[in-house]
Amino acid sequence: MTGQVSVRAAEELPFPPSVEDFYLPPLIDGGGYWLTKFTLLVWLAVAILIVFFTIAYRDPKLVPGRVQWMAESVYGFARNSVAREMIGAEGVRFAPYLATLFSFIVLTNIFGIIPGIQLSPNSHIAFPATLAVISYILFNYVGIRRYGLAKYFKHSLVPPAPWFVLPILIPIEFISTFLVRPFTLAVRLFANMFAGHVILLVFTLGGFVLLRAESLFIKPVSLVSWALAVALTFLEVLVALLQAYIFVVLTSSYVQGALAEEH
């Protein structure tokens, strides 16, 4: 191959994509700087979920219709497969939170691949961080409420181990429970959605860059690039569901850890 992919033609294209692409301009000129596509999408997700679940449960039937069946599947999944499985019988009272969290994350993740939207609020660290803070407060709160402040910290910081290894273990427990947990919870979701968006940008925009290459041999390669963009979009569906699942599973496992009698 002689022709190198010319960057000359790419001048008008925002290629390669950069982190700057995730700092969106305000939607309305002169409006609040906080009113971006992200903000709008979060509101949209909240609105969709409220409307969906309200309609689904407005007139519940013994034999559910399609919408009710979908809503019940989501809730049943969070209740039985996550809450009850991870936390046990008393986990059922966390099912509403877990179901809400799960459907909100799924929906906002899926925004990343819906044509015309193609941007997930979760690809901006602020949104996963907020979700992680909520889960962090939740599991600490239920733990403190169950055991009281001192006993909760003793319970979560002091593992059942001989006294002479405790000085090594306690700092690890502290960092892992109170710092690494919320941090990884947020970063895992953020990084997955961020990377997914960047990959789709690379292959989609890269197709245009290839198409504008000078060599005739390079131009058709853009088709490969776009085909990959389509294929990766389907992969992103999987990632979107998986990350939402991981998020609620970890939240419930933290709640379980905070409530557990003895480890």
Binding site: W69, M70, E72, S73, V74, G76, F77, N80, S81, V82, E85, M86, V106, P159, P160, A161, V165, I168, L169, P171, I172, E173, I175, S176, L179, V180, R181, T184, R188, L241, Y245, I246, V249, L250, S252, S253, G257, E262, H263
Partner: protein
């Protein structure tokens, strides 16, 4: 997610949660004691040997914690 998850059986096991928790312990162990070792290194002026020891102590502590907290009791 559609209806195939409303059943108990056939779900992906929440082992994913356990795996991530285990990873958290390992990383925290390495971070805490590696950092402590690094501080000692700076204090003594040695070139990284205490950091290495610290990281190994951290990994050992992390594995021990995983066994204690998550293993069969």
């Amino acid at each position: 997610m559609t209806g195939d998850h409303s059943q108990h059986q056939g779900d992906p096991t929440p082992g994913a949660g356990q795996a991530w928790a285990a990873l958290g312990y390992l990383i925290s162990g390495m971070a805490v004691w590696g950092f402590a070792g690094w501080l000692v290194d700076r204090w003594l002026g040695s070139d990284g040997i205490v950091t290495a020891v610290g990281i190994m102590v951290g990994v050992a502590g992390g594995i021990y914690l995983i066994m204690k907290r998550m293993g069969p009791s």
